[in-house]
Amino acid sequence: MISRVNSSTDMSGQLSHQVPLLEIDQLSIHFDTISGTVRSVNGVCYTLHAGETLGVVGESGCGKSVTALSIMRLIPMPPGRFAGGAIRYNGVDLLTLSEKEMRKIRGNRISMIFQDPMSSLNPVMTIGVQIAETIMLHQKLSKKEALLRATDMLRLVQIAEPERRVNEYPYQLSGGMRQRVMIALALACNPEVLIADEPTTALDVTIQAQIIELLKDLQEKLGMGVIMITHDLGVVAETCDRVVVMYAGRKVEEASTEDLFARPLHPYTRALMASMPAMNAAVEGRLLEIPGMVAASHELIRGCAFAGRCSYAVERCKQETPPLTEAGNVGHLVACFRWQDIAQQAAPAALVAPPVSPQYDFTGARS
């Protein structure tokens, strides 16, 4: 039995008997700019196990993408700088690796899918060559073998006629197909960790459904750990096992997906849920607004960063930063002084009421 490295493993609750595949431990990333130091990520912890999908939720600027990019060591330094913490992959701290060692991991053991497939693919290379390039970089294969492998990858992500598509350029593909190519590219070396940064945000809802089904399917088949970064709580509810909610560079809540939706405890999580228009009739009239804006991250925030916008805030919230505490259920962490009061109140209506009719009968008969 391997002893656990630090306390954050214990706090992740579920699956804590296993050694995590990836462990982000008290990570802080700061950017030094002319207008001061921007504290993008402030002591964030989360862990990812094999075969698990972890959702990371938050609004623009909350640090969710910066955390993910730092796992890949893709943060430009300077202006970025690691201000503390560790990122352990199978027990090895990625932050201590040389660039050469890191290259063996990046794109090979840990891969990433980006939001905008058009700007992430090379427009003047065929998609086959782009996938083959990745494979040849990490495995000893001839170009011919690598191209065959690329065709297999395109088949895996369910692109029709992979033999023809492999010789096409990105501009010849539709948005949904490009995102499939991105997934093929990320999975080409059979990674253990897949980071998906808003993989469906730029897509239409029907194409989004295809990509979500594909990702779920592939994870089941290949058993990798997936970090799903998104702002869409619908995508989270459908794909994730566990969710981390981030606000202003900090983790404010973490729980299993079911627990989070049934019993959201942080005021920010609740406000986020209540401000979303719903597909069912539960929310009519005005939506809940979160007053104000996220505080600029170059200001050193005293106390809870959400206090200024929070309807539950008391004097103490402005003075002290609330620590993450275990809230009732195993693995449910929340950083709020008043979670016990909040727990007494019902969850936002949109989540409690059953949807009007999500189950359509596709045989043609209507209920």
């Binding site: 623009s60 029907t206 509810a237 939706f261 979303m276 597909m279 005005r286 607004e289 009719s357 209507r366």
Partner: protein, 338 residues
């Protein structure tokens, strides 16, 4: 606290006197002929679209990208010149108007754009951005500088911006505030109709809620009609009185909001609605995923345009284009099987 459903009372779902009436709208683009004498292809971006909009009503146009919803929205203002059809505003036909007459008519018809970063001039101060439409039509409005400043302050406060921010430049505002500026600009001429082209899709969830609330409040107060172009079905469900679903340039279903979301008839609408992820982990998604991508509007399928992807397609769907016709009270569907 406003009672639930209050905004729905402003307009019944069947318009009495239509403010805007669009009939058989078509927009075809001809792609340039190729170098070797290949003739140009005709892209049917919008094909035979008809709908009407009442005062104080919100009609949403939804569909996948490339279905022609934005083209339809912009055609109504003639920012895109339609190929054929009829658009009448309060009984006056717009398509025959000269550019000058059309410009005057646009005082009643404004637009809010999707990207609050690209649609505001970075070299102008916020106050000038919002005041520009009023200055364009000053001769008609006879307004003095003094009343302009008062009107500006009033507009800023209406959209939830502090009047002191008038002197700032657009880059000094956040995304949500910029969208408020765009709304203030559209409001400045007291329009009867605002075309909202994906007004909240570039915004974060919490800011999106603020802008949606603002749009609904303004409709309540001034009776503005919205032609709301969007792809986010949850937002559409929240804000609309009626919804038109478009596929490949055509309206396939048009009915009041509650009917559409609870009893959709067209197979495409059913699939579209089921594709939206539900923020509820207990609801197991029972969706039928559409295969492949939409066909090209340059080469639309024969018969029903949806038949190539429709799970219920029959022989007739391939041959005959179904007409948009009414089923029950105001429920319009274009499907042979419904």
């Amino acid at each position: 606290m406003k009672p639930a459903n209050m905004h729905l009372q402003a307009a019944p779902h069947l318009p009495r006197t239509p403010l805007l009436e669009v009939r058989n709208l078509r927009k075809h683009y001809v792609t340039p002929a190729g170098m070797f004498g290949k003739s140009g292809r005709v892209v049917q971006a919008v094909e035979d679209v008809s709908f009407s909009l009442a005062t104080g009503e919100t009609l949403s146009l939804v569909g996948e990208s490339g279905c022609g919803k934005t083209t339809t929205g912009k055609s109504v203002l003639r920012l895109i010149e339609p190929t054929s059809g009829s658009i009448s505003m309060e009984g006056e036909e717009l398509l025959g108007l000269s550019a000058k007459e059309m410009r005057l008519r646009r005082q009643d018809m404004q637009i809010i754009f999707q990207d609050p970063y690209a649609s505001l001039n970075p070299r102008m101060r916020a106050g000038d951005i919002v005041a520009e439409p009023m200055r364009n039509f000053r001769a008609q409005n006879q307004s003095s500088t003094k009343s302009e400043v008062d009107k500006l302050a009033w507009l800023f406060s209406k959209v939830g911006l502090r009047p002191e921010t008038m002197k700032k430049y657009a880059y000094e505002f956040s995304g949500g505030q910029r969208q408020r500026l765009g709304i203030a600009r559209a409001l400045s001429l007291n329009p009867k109709l605002i075309v909202c082209d994906e007004p909240v899709s570039a915004l974060d969830v919490s800011v999106q809620a603020q802008v949606i609330n603002l749009l609904m409040d303004l409709q309540q107060e001034f009776g503005i009609a919205y032609l709301f172009v969007a792809h986010d079905l949850a937002v559409v469900r929240h804000i609309s009185h009626r919804v038109a679903v478009m596929y490949l340039g055509k309206i396939v279903e048009l009915t009041d909001r509650d009917t559409l979301f609870s009893r959709p008839l067209h197979p495409y609408t059913q699939i579209l609605l089921s594709a939206v992820p539900q923020p509820n982990p207990k609801v197991k998604a029972t969706r039928q995923v559409l295969r492949g991508d939409p066909p090209s509007p340059a080469n639309p399928p024969s018969g029903c345009r949806f038949h190539t992807r429709c799970p219920q397609a029959q022989a007739i769907c391939k041959e005959k284009d179904p007409e948009l016709s009414t089923r029950s009270d105001g429920h319009w569907v274009a499907c042979h099987l419904q």
